[in-house]
C-alpha cells in the first residue's frame, strides 16, 4: 500500500477587477504622509542652506521651495502611482510656510 501525497490546492483566482480594499487606503495614507515628510525636509534644507541670505539671492528666493514643491506636486498628480505622494507634497507647502518661512524671516530680522 502506498501513500501518495494529495496534490496541492490550486491558488485562489486573482481578482483583477477590484483593488484589495483592506490594503489600498493604508498605502495611500503612507504615500501621503511620505509626501508631507519629504516636502518638509526639502523646505528645511532649502532654508537652512540659504540661511539669512534668503532674501538677498533674489527677491523670489524665499519662495523657491514653495514654487518647486507645487510644480513637482502637480506633475505627480498625473502619475497614478505617485498621486497620493504628490498630494502630500502639495499639503506640505502651507505647513512648511508656517514653520520654516516664518522662522527664517524671524532670524533674518534679528540681524
Amino acid at each position: 500500500m502506498t501513500h501518495s501525497t494529495p496534490p496541492p490546492l490550486p491558488p485562489p483566482p486573482l481578482d483583477y477587477g477590484h483593488a484589495d480594499p483592506s490594503r489600498r487606503p493604508r498605502r495611500s495614507w503612507a504615500k501621503f504622509t511620505s509626501g508631507i515628510g519629504a516636502g518638509l525636509v526639502i523646505s528645511f534644507f532649502y532654508y537652512l542652506t540659504l540661511g539669512t541670505n534668503v532674501a538677498q539671492v533674489t527677491p523670489f528666493a524665499p519662495f523657491g521651495a514653495v514654487i518647486g514643491k507645487l510644480a513637482a506636486g502637480i506633475a505627480l498628480l498625473f502619475y497614478p502611482r505617485w498621486k497620493d505622494f504628490g498630494i502630500g507634497l502639495i499639503a506640505s507647502i502651507p505647513v512648511a510656510v508656517l514653520i520654516f518661512l516664518g522662522l527664517c524671516f524671524a532670524a533674518m530680522s534679528k540681524l
Binding site: 495614507w29 532674501a55 527677491p59 499639503a91 508656517l98 514653520i99
Partner: protein, 280 residues
C-alpha cells in the same frame, strides 16, 4: 498701585532655547513641529478607527486635508495682519514683517472654510470635522507650550497682574500666563468632548462644540491680553472673528438639533450616529 511680586517664581530664561546636536533650537519652532506631528498622528489613528461608513474615500479625504492646511495658512496670516494693522503698515516695506506672525483663531476659521471649499468642489456633503477635534486640541495645547516658553516676543502673554500665579517673562513685570490658561481650558474642553463623544451625536456636532468653546474662550481671554482694538467696537480683530465664528457654530448646532428632532419625528433610525472612534 505698585504690583505685588509674583508668588509663583518660574526660573526660566525666556525665550527658551533647546540644544540638539550642537545647534540651538527655538522652543516655538520645536513645539510647533511637535504639535503638527502629534496632531497628524492622532488624526491618522482616529481615521483608522473610523468605521467604513463614517470615513470619506481616501483621495477625497486627502484633498480635504489639503483644503484645510491651505485655508489655515491664509486664515492665520490674514487675521494676524488685521490684528495689528498699524504695526504691519509701519513695516510695510519689510518682507520679514509680512511673513512673520500668525493666529490660531484665524487658522481654525480659515481651515474650516478651506475644508468646506474642498468639499464643495468634490461635491461631498458628509460632515468631516469630528475627526479633527482631538488632534486640534492636543496640537494647540502643545503649540501653546512653545508660545509660553518663547515669552514676550511671541505676543501671546497677558497684561500685568498681581495674582499669585503671575509670571515674569523677563522684563520684571508679573503678567497673566494666558498661554497656560489656554492649555488648561483645552484639557477641560477635551475631557468634556470625550465624554460627549461616547454618546450618540450628529455628524460634525463635536467639531462645532469644540470650535464654539474655543472661540468663546478666546473672545474672553483677549480682554486680559495687550491688544489693538477697533475704535468703535472696542474689540480686537481676533475677538470679532471669534464672535462671528461662534455665531456660525451656534447656527449650525441649532440647525443640526432641529434636523435631529425632525428625523426623530419621522422615526428614521438610520440617522443616529455611532459614538466617535476617538472614544474607543
Amino acid at each position: 498701585m505698585p504690583l505685588a511680586p509674583p508668588v509663583l517664581v518660574v526660573a526660566i530664561a525666556f525665550p527658551v532655547q533647546f540644544h540638539l546636536f550642537g545647534r540651538s533650537i527655538h522652543a516655538h519652532a520645536l513645539f510647533e513641529v511637535l504639535a503638527y506631528f502629534i496632531g497628524f498622528q492622532i488624526y491618522l489613528l482616529i481615521r483608522r478607527q473610523q468605521h467604513d461608513g463614517a470615513a470619506l474615500p481616501v483621495e477625497q479625504n486627502l484633498w480635504v486635508i489639503v483644503g484645510c492646511v491651505f485655508g489655515a495658512l491664509v486664515g492665520a496670516k490674514v487675521l494676524a495682519w488685521l490684528e495689528s494693522p498699524i504695526d504691519y503698515w509701519s513695516h510695510r516695506h519689510e518682507l520679514a514683517a509680512w511673513i512673520g506672525g500668525k493666529t490660531i483663531v484665524g487658522g481654525l476659521l480659515g481651515g474650516w472654510i478651506g475644508v468646506e471649499i474642498a468639499k464643495r468642489i468634490m461635491r461631498v456633503t458628509r460632515r468631516t470635522g469630528d475627526a479633527f477635534v482631538f488632534p486640534l486640541i492636543l496640537g494647540i495645547a502643545i503649540g501653546r507650550l512653545g508660545c509660553f516658553l518663547t515669552g514676550l516676543s511671541d505676543h501671546t502673554h497677558g497684561v500685568a497682574t498681581s495674582l499669585p500665579w503671575a509670571v515674569d517673562f523677563g522684563d520684571g513685570v508679573p503678567r497673566h500666563p494666558t498661554q497656560l490658561y489656554e492649555i488648561a481650558f483645552l484639557l477641560i474642553l477635551g475631557a468634556l468632548l470625550l465624554v460627549r463623544s461616547r454618546h450618540a451625536h450628529a455628524p460634525g456636532e463635536l467639531f462645532r462644540w469644540f470650535l464654539l468653546g474655543y472661540l468663546a474662550f478666546r473672545f474672553l481671554v483677549e480682554f486680559i491680553k495687550p491688544r489693538y482694538t477697533i475704535p468703535i467696537l472696542s474689540l480686537s480683530a481676533i475677538q470679532i472673528a471669534s464672535l462671528l465664528g461662534a455665531c456660525a457654530c451656534v447656527i449650525q448646532l441649532l440647525r443640526g438639533s432641529r434636523g435631529n428632532q425632525k428625523r426623530e419625528a419621522d422615526d428614521d433610525p438610520f440617522h443616529a450616529t455611532a459614538p466617535s472612534p476617538a472614544a474607543a
